[in-house]
């Protein structure tokens, strides 16, 4: 009934992405052995994680506009589950698949259909209704981890997407919400990068400026001026200057990190520059982005990432898929009409296939013990922020987790949770596995998973 998963051709992947990693470098770095990529030479032991084991990585891959529910949830519970039609492309990584059902983002129940749910997906926080002047949500789980554990990598975190933020207000909400998955703090959205070439330059060309001895003095001076100015302005302006100072310091930290790596005799990660792609070339751009994400994880350039296949309410045309007419958002209002939900479901299946490709790519990088790979030390969270696109409910969210959790979670199962289990309970477990355990996160009331002790 479900089509066979599309075979993944490595060559095709590389071609699509236009990027190829310098694998010998990985080996030379000891990345293949210790698994810590460029993090390896750093003297300080990572928080959490067994000695010699790589720190766990996390990426959220967001799919807009909900799902055709009947084809999402696997049938059967526990380890004997049957993959659903939509998740069928993930069959090759079934052993590392963990599908929790019945998770609910409680605070996303109010407000309009999409934006609130999207932007609070990774924090479970309430969203302020505003046209943009004072946006507010909550620090997201990826940023929470990056701020605590990501200071030893080239970039603490990576925020990627396909669509620019539009400049509108819709239903009283700034569309910034629908374009933002990651929040650095409750009032600071982390903007995403949407051009693969620029992502490449940030990841693999960042060392250029570190060689310039003047840059440090320049940044010192402007940071000092910002700090001086803070004493002369009111509270709201001080906050703006804080953002600026923090950003300048972040750049400084990154340059220092590059210098430290150089001094330690370690090279910088290398990869081939992706091809310049037209904005319309959606499939190739998605391929390039996911390849860069894989490379960033494999080389240790970062451990935390978010990727938006599309902004909330995306009306992207998926007519490159046979039998799929019209815009994604319009199809999501399927009204239970078969001519709409069929193509709607095919769009989700296409997304699942991309996630499968990414997972297999991560599995192609050996890491740690014999036979283990980067995917074993990764959690990919493939997720939508609402269930049925026709109804916009933030419960029984479509979430599929792929990856080995560093061996700490039992995977290869469908975890049928009690109805309306809090989504944030997943993040409590996730933060524990990532290496910064917390009592609670957002509106959590417990932990979703029983993790193996370290």
């Amino acid at each position: 009934m479900s089509p066979p998963p599309s075979p993944i051709s490595r060559r095709a992947l590389l071609r699509g992405a236009g990027a190829a990693m310098a694998l010998p470098w990985l080996e030379a770095m000891g990345g293949g052995r210790t698994g810590a990529g460029i993090g390896a030479p750093l003297p300080e032991a990572p928080a959490g994680g067994r000695a010699g084991q790589a720190k766990l990585r996390f990426a959220c891959l967001f799919m807009p506009n909900g799902v055709w529910a009947p084809d999402w949830t696997p049938s059967g519970e526990g380890e004997t589950f049957q993959l659903s039609k939509t998740l069928a492309p993930l069959a090759p990584v079934r052993d590392l698949l963990l599908v929790p059902s019945n998770l609910r983002n409680w605070n996303a129940n109010e407000g309009e259909g999409h934006y609130v749910k999207t932007t609070s997906l990774l924090s479970g926080a309430k969203v302020r209704r505003t046209g943009g002047r004072d946006v507010r949500c909550g620090t997201t789980v990826d940023q929470f981890a990056a701020q605590r554990l990501g200071q030893d990598t080239l970039l603490p975190s990576l925020e990627l997407g396909m669509d620019p933020a539009s400049r509108q207000v819709d239903m009283g909400y700034s569309t910034v919400y629908g374009a933002t998955l990651s929040w650095k703090s409750p009032d600071e959205p982390a903007p995403k990068e949407i051009d693969p070439v620029r992502v490449y330059e940030r990841l693999f060309r960042g060392g250029r400026r570190a060689g310039d001895p003047a840059t440090g003095s320049v940044l010192d001076l402007v940071a000092a001026e910002a700090a001086g100015l803070q004493r002369q302005v009111g509270a709201a302006d001080r906050r703006k200057l804080d953002e600026y100072l923090e950003s300048v310091r972040e750049v400084e930290r990154r340059l220092e990190r590059v210098r430290a790596l150089r001094e330690a005799g370690a090279g910088l990660p290398e990869a081939e520059r992706p091809a310049d792609l037209e904005a319309e070339d959606f499939q190739a751009r998605v391929g390039a982005m996911l390849e860069l994400l894989a490379l960033a994880f494999a080389t240790g350039a970062t451990r935390y990432a978010t990727f938006m296949f599309g902004n909330s309410v995306s009306g992207r045309n998926f007519s490159f898929l046979p039998g799929v007419p019209g815009s994604h958002h319009e199809l999501s209002h399927h009204e239970d009409k078969e001519e709409k939900w069929r193509p709607y479901q095919l769009i989700q299946e296409w997304h699942a296939a991309r996630v499968a490709e990414l997972a297999l790519r991560l599995r192609s990088f050996p890491e740690g013990e014999e036979g283990k790979t980067v995917l074993d030390n990764t959690v990919l969270m493939f997720a939508g922020a609402l269930r049925d696109g026709n109804r916009h409910e933030p419960f029984d969210l479509p979430i599929a987790l792929v990856g080995g959790w560093g061996g700490r979670a039992v995977t290869g199962r469908h975890l049928a949770c009690p109805k309306d289990t809090r989504l944030c309970n997943l993040y409590v477990s996730l933060l524990d596995a990532l290496g910064c355990p917390v009592e609670s996160f957002g509106d959590s009331d417990g932990a979703l998973l029983q993790l193996q002790p370290l």
Partner: protein
């Protein structure tokens, strides 16, 4: 009954009022005149609890004084009570006429207090970062190089309708990296351009014979200092302090010590100017106010920047700097003279691109997609740029030639080239250059008839009377409809005749739902009147469902027939339009949302503008002379 909320927000700023407010808050709960009591008795059932109706939650307003925290709500509340709209007729509990009158009186009294509380307060303006276009223009004018350093900067988020509002313009590490790159490429361009480089280095030339290029030895420090002393005030848009110059000179010396030549050593010093918060942000310091006042007058430099970023989206030019330095900008005559000079300058084009294009939405035509098979002309005739230019040139002429703002509602001319004219069916326009053309009839001309407006309010495959109506209400009349409820349906985004129904019939059916009717009754007729224009603004007599029916009936009984009917209806509402224009320009100029306290000012600005034949300069000068534009809230 004690207030659930402390009086802090008011007590800190209006001590004289605190007594009155406390007295009010201390009223016994049964006082019949209390607004809070009235709300508890007659409103709380719907406007409270977990899901307050219409998003209006009156539960937090436990005492009358609490309403002073939200004068906008209070204002709406009074209107609702006064007009008898609330409680709705179908509500079980109805207040007596006396109770209603008492509540109205209490609301009016509170509003008077709110007015007094806001008097003399220019409102809070959050530090504004230069946005993308401002950064580009400022760098261009600072160095005189044709280079776009902003190409790789991300689009700026909008707040309150514009991408230049302090609250919405945040800085992230990603952006900081991009600024670093932008500054690098800018300095590359400056040093590669002989004329720009010579201009930059010219102030140092007099310091030593032989020109700035080849300076060596101790004297070159004086030359470097002279270069920086001339550059920094322009970069910071105010006089630079000695230490600001010295600190950058130290960067120059460091680079010299590392072996860089004279001008290469200036690069870190210049980079430290362009990355400084004094350059990247439009800094206005919080200083104490004069005794007994809540705001301080901005100084000449600050006014110069407010004017230049308002009108030109860039730094002040030499003349404006001179007017700041000699105090002319501290007088109304000086400001008016500068503002008029700037309006007449070609750089006023920036106001069209950054203000009008966002207010009226035509910026959106630059990056929208229409269906190539449904509307091949959009691409075939390459209409995107002409659409944008038609609107932008119209607005530019409005500002530059001081025309009437009412020409935005209806105009006897428009800016066309051959392609656009053929698309519109206007004869006799040849060549690709855009020029002002007298129109044969009222079916074209004015914002409602621009191809840009008609296209941005359509779907890729069909027109949308709803989106067009919403655009008229929001942009032209500043009366945005409420957002639809989450469960509202969505009509197909094409114009196929489905279930035997045309898009119009489907929409009419949708409106039959009472939850939708209220807003759609106001929106849809405005859009129906535009149904003679297809999804890219081409005239049509018929659509997929047969002959076009371009009639609409407004809730107040006004019958609209086609474009001329719509234009007449809008002209009949010119006060609402002028008020909308005043509000938008005010928000853009001052850098914050308008609030209840600005109501009277905006009413007056709109009325004054119309009294002066709608001249744009009347509106602009009125705003420039208003306290929120000229003053800044003082530090407490």
């Amino acid at each position: 009954m004690p207030s659930r909320f402390p009086l802090r927000p008011l007590a800190t700023c209006v001590l004289p009022l605190a007594g009155a407010i406390l007295a009010l808050a201390a009223r016994p709960p049964a006082a019949p005149a209390g607004l809070a009591d009235f709300a508890r008795a007659y409103c709380a059932e719907c406007h409270g609890g977990a899901k307050p109706k219409g998003g209006v939650d009156l539960a937090p307003f436990a005492a009358d004084a609490d309403f002073l925290r939200d004068p906008d709500l209070l204002f709406g509340l009074r209107a609702m009570l006064e007009g008898g709209e609330m409680p709705p007729a179908e509500a079980e509990k109805q207040p007596s006429a006396a109770e209603r009158a008492a509540a109205v009186a209490a609301a009016a009294e509170l509003l008077a207090q709110a007015d007094a509380a806001a008097a003399g307060d220019p409102g809070e303006v959050v530090l504004r970062r230069l946005n993308r276009s401002q950064f580009r223009n400022t760098v261009r004018d600072l160095f005189g190089v044709a280079h776009d350093p902003a190409r790789d900067l991300p689009e700026d988020p909008t707040a309150d309708g514009f991408d230049s509002m302090g609250g919405g313009l945040w800085v992230s590490p990603l952006l900081a990296e991009k600024y670093l790159d932008a500054v690098d490429t800018t300095l590359d361009a400056v040093f590669a351009d002989a004329a720009a480089r010579a201009r930059l280095l010219a102030p140092g030339v007099g310091e030593q014979e032989g020109g700035a290029g080849e300076q060596t030895g101790a004297d070159s420090a004086a030359a470097a200092r002279a270069v920086l002393a001339a550059f920094l005030p322009r970069a910071f848009r105010r006089p630079a302090t000695t230490s600001e110059i010295d600190e950058r000179l130290a960067l120059w010396s460091e680079a010299r010590a590392r072996g860089a030549d004279f001008s290469a050593a200036l690069r870190p010093a210049l980079a430290a100017a362009l990355l400084s918060p004094h350059f990247l942000f439009r800094v206005e310091r919080d200083l104490p106010a004069p005794e007994g006042q809540r705001a301080r007058l901005l100084d000449g430099w600050e006014i110069a920047s407010r004017l230049s970023y308002l009108l030109w989206s860039t730094m002040p030019d030499a003349e404006l700097f001179a007017a700041a330095a000699d105090g002319r900008l501290l007088t109304p005559e000086g400001r008016a003279q500068q503002a008029r000079r700037m309006l007449a300058d070609p750089r006023i084009r920036a106001l069209a691109d950054d203000f009008f294009a966002q207010w009226l939405g035509f910026r959106g035509v630059l990056d929208l997609a229409v269906d190539i098979r449904k509307y091949p002309d959009f691409y075939g005739k390459d209409l995107r740029q002409p659409f944008y230019e038609e609107a932008a040139l119209h607005c530019e002429a409005l500002a530059r030639e001081d025309r009437s703002i009412l020409l935005l509602l209806d105009a006897p001319t428009s800016f066309l080239n051959d392609r656009l004219a053929s698309h519109y069916g206007v004869p006799g326009v040849e060549g690709g250059a855009m020029r002002e053309v007298a129109l044969p009839d009222r079916n074209r001309g004015g914002a409602p008839a621009w191809g840009a407006s008609l296209t941005i309010t359509s779907y890729p495959l069909r027109t949308s009377p709803v989106l067009r109506g919403r655009w008229v209400l929001e942009s032209l009349l500043a009366d945005p409809p409420k957002p639809p409820p989450p469960e509202a349906g969505k009509l197909p985004e094409d114009d196929k005749v489905d279930d035997g129904q045309t898009p119009r019939a489907r929409l009419e059916r949708h409106r039959a739902d009472p939850a939708c009717a209220g807003c759609h009754a106001a929106m849809d007729p405005l859009g129906f009147a535009l149904e003679n224009y297809d999804g890219i603004g081409k005239w049509r007599e018929a659509d997929a469902g047969g002959p076009v029916d371009a009639r609409g009936l407004l809730p107040d009984g006004t019958e609209l027939a086609g474009m001329t009917g719509l234009k007449d209806a809008l002209l009949a509402r010119k006060h609402a339009f002028a008020r909308a224009a005043a509000d938008r320009l005010f928000v853009y100029a001052v850098g914050r949302a308008s609030a209840y306290a600005d109501r009277a000012l905006l009413d007056r600005l709109a009325a004054d503008c119309l009294a002066q034949d709608g001249r744009f300069s009347a509106l602009l000068l009125g705003i420039v002379e208003s306290p929120p534009f000229l003053t800044r809230r003082a530090s407490p």
